[in-house]
């Protein structure tokens, strides 16, 4: 999936021939798919993607399988796995399995959109800081430092507690707003080294505008690095959302895995209902593991090539 985004970004890399991107992609894909950890990550991710897709099915079968508002007309308490409810029901008779599927969808949505936004912000700010230098650089980097020391989970918790419940998209946006500095730092240093390279100098002499230099020449070169961060950011976004929901500060209108765990915990079924306690936790852990493994595999795949291109680093 991350490889896919990699592919789509190829046409924008005008400074390098398209063929280069194609070959780089096939090469790294090849390495990635041979990499044990990468392969495990891919398989897990595929499974969760299937879950997320399947989440649309249960409510169509019967409205009692609606993860949020569907209650079983007969069962009004928590019950163990049965044919009717594969993973049992929660404290008011909602189906745990359909909640779990819906949770996968929310996790993907939160993880990928928050990661995408923070990568976008981080790349833009990092490039701008590195390219502009001087005051702009200092200002942006101090801002980054400041945000970096803020514990994201706690800041979100404070906001959720103070402003009533946050909407899931607000949570996504806030995660992105607090998670860009790490990316920005790396992109900035990469931009700094690129700035004085001959092909940038020559573009400048040829009269290219700053915007053009940034977009056509620097961006394609820092993009692989940014994408590398993507899957780690997905991991942290999923964890933050889950932790927030677990502490009771999530979006009450959404069924996320963290929310499910919170329900088990707060309604006092931790000891009585292992069939309800285990699945959401396993899912959160495995999905973050999948993204993390993918990230590590990509790191190992991408790293040597970047070294090759840039001996100074």
């Amino acid at each position: 999936m991350s490889a896919d985004t990699n592919n789509r970004s190829a046409p924008s890399g005008a400074a390098l021939p398209e063929a280069y991107w194609q070959s780089a992609f096939t090469e790294s894909w090849g390495v990635l798919s041979r990499h044990t950890i990468g392969r495990i990550g891919m398989i897990l991710l595929g499974l969760f993607a299937l879950m997320a897709l399947a989440s649309f099915i249960p409510p169509l079968i019967d409205p009692i399988y609606n993860p949020m508002s569907g209650v079983d007309p007969i069962i009004s308490y928590t019950s163990g796995p049965s044919w009717r409810h594969w993973l049992g029901t929660d404290f008011i008779g909602r189906d745990i399995f359909s909640q779990l599927l819906a949770g996968a969808r929310i996790a993907f949505m939160v993880g990928i959109s928050a990661a995408f936004m923070s990568i976008f912000l981080g790349t833009a700010i990092g490039m701008l800081a590195g390219y502009s230098g001087r005051w702009g650089d200092t200002l942006l980097m101090r801002l980054a430092d400041m945000i970096m020391v803020m514990p994201t989970l706690l800041v979100l918790l404070v906001m959720a507690a103070l402003f009533g419940q946050l909407n899931i998209w607000t949570i996504v946006l806030l995660i992105a707003l607090f998670r860009w500095p790490g990316v920005a730092r790396v992109i900035r240093s990469q931009t700094l080294t690129l700035k004085h390279r001959p092909f940038i100098e020559s573009a400048r002499i040829a009269g290219a505008s700053h915007l053009r230099i940034l977009v056509r020449h620097i961006l394609p070169n820092v993009l692989p690095l940014a994408l590398l961060y993507m899957s780690f950011r997905v991991t942290s976004a999923i964890i933050i959302e889950a932790a927030l929901a677990f502490l009771g500060f999530g979006d009450p209108g959404t069924v996320s895995w963290g929310m499910m765990l919170q329900w088990v915990w707060k309604t006092g079924h931790m000891f009585q209902a292992p069939y309800w306690l285990l699945p959401p936790g396993i899912c959160i852990s495995l999905l973050t593991l999948a993204f993390y493994m993918l990230g590590r595999a990509m790191e190992e795949v991408l790293d040597p090539r970047m070294r090759r291109e840039d001996p100074e680093e």
Partner: protein, 326 residues
């Protein structure tokens, strides 16, 4: 050396400014949000006049600018105010809770770092072998475990199903109210209560230290002096333990420093699940009670610790690696 001093000074000033900005932002965040500490007390005996009096008693009736100036003035003279919820000076409450947090997290971080360094060293030495792959995957799994869930699982398994360890709090009051129990049994009691939270934290932290140690060890193994040592014909174990691992452990030490700093905040989840009377749990409940002074001070304490840890790490890097200057 002069430039290093200048560098430290500059970083100090920058950190001071950062702290001040964070303080200001948080203050206004808290005070401009809807809801107030009185809102929670829905009670037919509490009249509107009573509520207004309580608001005044908390000093929340003053213009916001004035409240801010007062807060800043007090804060920098070490006067953190009185908690709305407990009616007790914030400093006292923090002094009460902080040692509990430090005790739990320092132990957890140190234990897991030791274990991570030890195992990371071994697997790096056997890179590519089945042991390496198995341990690395295991570490990855540990590292990405969802903390509150694994904590609940521990409680369920060890506390409930098997009944081996206590599942809540930090002490057994029965021992503490008994005038005959000495410090030894009290100390053991605390240790006994620490087992489950410690195990949880250990599992989660251990994986990341192992991974850091492993990759740093692999990097070190490519260094010239390792080749030299090999060329000299030293035994492999000596090279591993005396030449490579001390160097490779450095990133782990920095990481330990940072995670100790961050543990004050990451602790919220662990402390909440295990009802550990620490600073993280206090912060979460202070936020939900709209106890501004307590929540603000806890938060600023965390920010200050993280800022300081960052400074130490930066300075250390600058000191160790003369190429880093900005």
């Amino acid at each position: 050396m002069m430039s290093l001093n200048r560098y430290i000074l500059r970083r100090l000033i920058e950190i001071g400014i950062s702290f001040f900005v964070i303080l200001t932002l948080l203050f206004f965040l808290f005070h401009l949000a809807p809801g107030d500490p009185v809102a929670r007390m829905v009670n037919p005996n509490l009249s509107a006049e009573d509520e207004a009096r309580l608001i005044a008693h908390m000093g929340l009736d003053l213009p916001l600018g004035q409240q801010y100036l007062r807060f800043v003035g007090n804060f920098f003279t070490g006067e953190f105010g009185v908690s709305f919820h407990y009616g007790q000076p914030v400093a006292e409450i923090i002094a009460d809770r902080l040692p509990n947090t430090i005790l739990l997290f320092t132990t957890a971080v140190i234990l897991s770092a030791l274990a991570g360094v030890w195992l990371g060293k071994i697997v790096a030495w056997r890179k590519g072998q089945p042991l390496d792959t198995a341990v690395t995957i295991g570490a990855l799994v540990c590292h990405t475990l969802f903390l509150p869930w694994i904590a609940m699982l521990m409680i369920w398994l060890f506390g409930y199903r098997w009944g081996w360890f206590p599942i809540t709090g930090m002490i057994s009051p029965e021992i503490w109210i008994d005038p005959h129990s000495g410090w030894a049994s009290k100390g053991l009691d605390i240790l006994y209560h620490m087992v489950l939270p410690l195990l949880t934290l250990f599992l989660v932290h251990f994986g990341s230290y192992l991974l850091i140690m492993r990759s740093s060890m692999l990097e070190t193994l490519g260094e010239d002096y390792i080749y030299t040592a090999r060329a000299k014909g030293l035994p492999e174990k000596v090279i591993r333990d005396h030449h490579a691992s001390p160097n490779a452990a450095l990133p782990v030490i920095t990481s330990v420093g940072l995670s100790l700093a961050f543990s004050i905040n990451g602790g919220a989840l662990t402390e909440k699940v295990f009802s550990w009377p620490g600073i993280g749990r206090e912060l979460v409940s202070a936020v939900s009670y709209n106890d501004y002074p307590l929540a603000l001070t806890c938060f600023l304490l965390i920010a200050a610790v993280v800022l300081a840890a960052n400074l130490v790490v930066d300075v250390m890097y600058a000191f160790l690696d003369p190429r880093i200057r900005y």
